[in-house]
Amino acid sequence: MVMEKTWRYGKNGITLRLKVLFMSFQNQPTEELKDVRHIREMMERSSRFLSLSGLSGVSAGVFALAGAFYTRHYIFPAYYNDYNRTGYDSVSFDWLRMTLLWVASLVFFLALASAFYFTWRRSRKQGSSLWNITSRRLFWNTAIPIAAGACFIIGMLWHNEWRFVAPASLMFYGLALVNASKYTLTDIRYLGLSEIALGLLNMFWIGYGLYFWAFGFGILHILYGIIMWVKYERKS
């Protein structure tokens, strides 16, 4: 039995990883280099979830755009028709709020389900499992900021404060992605930073939340999805 204090993961692990990474770039087919490549692959495979598919981003973005389009061209005109005829009336305002909530939930659900599907498909193709230590870590570290943001937004709605829903959701989502980027493909980090910047901008164009949403959750997802797909998946 070993009665020794265990070594804690920390700065040493990172230094060691950089060293291995650097060595595996040198291009001699020796036994030693094969070992180094193996070490590097195991370090990567055990610390980041690498099966995230770019198509997940594209599909989530498409659903977001569809939701925004439907809202802009069907829900808003229906509401403002009434509004222009009879002025403010609480029944149609409640209808507007409920419809928006339903559309948003549906978009969120479809985007999440499709994102799961494409990532599941990719991990199956690679022969790796969708539920292992790396995906669990990725899941929890994304879920925590998202859940905090969701509670915060529900709190705002509770106080009848709807103006900051769009900026807050963009910012919390951005923070979640920045956090997630430590546990999966690093490209996610820049998507997260873009979402944060967009959320901050939206603070000063309060009435245009839907457009900021469409851009942040729609266009940016599709753009990053395509970039990631080209970068990691097209070859295979």
């Binding site: 020794e4 993961y9 055990s46």
Partner: protein, 99 residues
């Protein structure tokens, strides 16, 4: 334990043992099943190599339960960390020497 010619550690000659150490050095704690999945090896094969690493004092075994199922996890020891770092340094030196 050390190969006198180049400082490479004999224990890490084996790909599975090398893989286990690579995973442990970047993960605080890892379960038997996660190791099995990442290394793509059979239970028996992995168990044998884990025992030999434990006997060398390179890793520490923690036996626990999730419900009724056993959940064995592994952490690297200081000795193991040092041995692995030395091994990588030796590999580095050899690669540099060949250049």
């Amino acid at each position: 334990m050390k190969n006198p010619i180049n400082g490479l550690n004999k224990v890490f000659d084996n790909r599975i043992r090398l893989g286990v150490m690579s995973i442990l050095v970047v993960n605080e704690e890892i379960s038997f099943n996660d190791l099995k999945q990442m290394l793509e090896v059979t239970d028996g094969n992995l168990a044998t190599h884990l025992v030999s690493l434990e006997e060398n004092g390179y890793l520490k075994v923690h036996k626990g339960f999730i419900g009724r199922k056993t959940n064995t996890t592994y952490t690297i020891t200081r000795t193991g960390q040092k041995a692995f770092t030395d091994h990588i340094t030796a590999l580095e030196n050899m690669i540099r020497g060949i250049k």
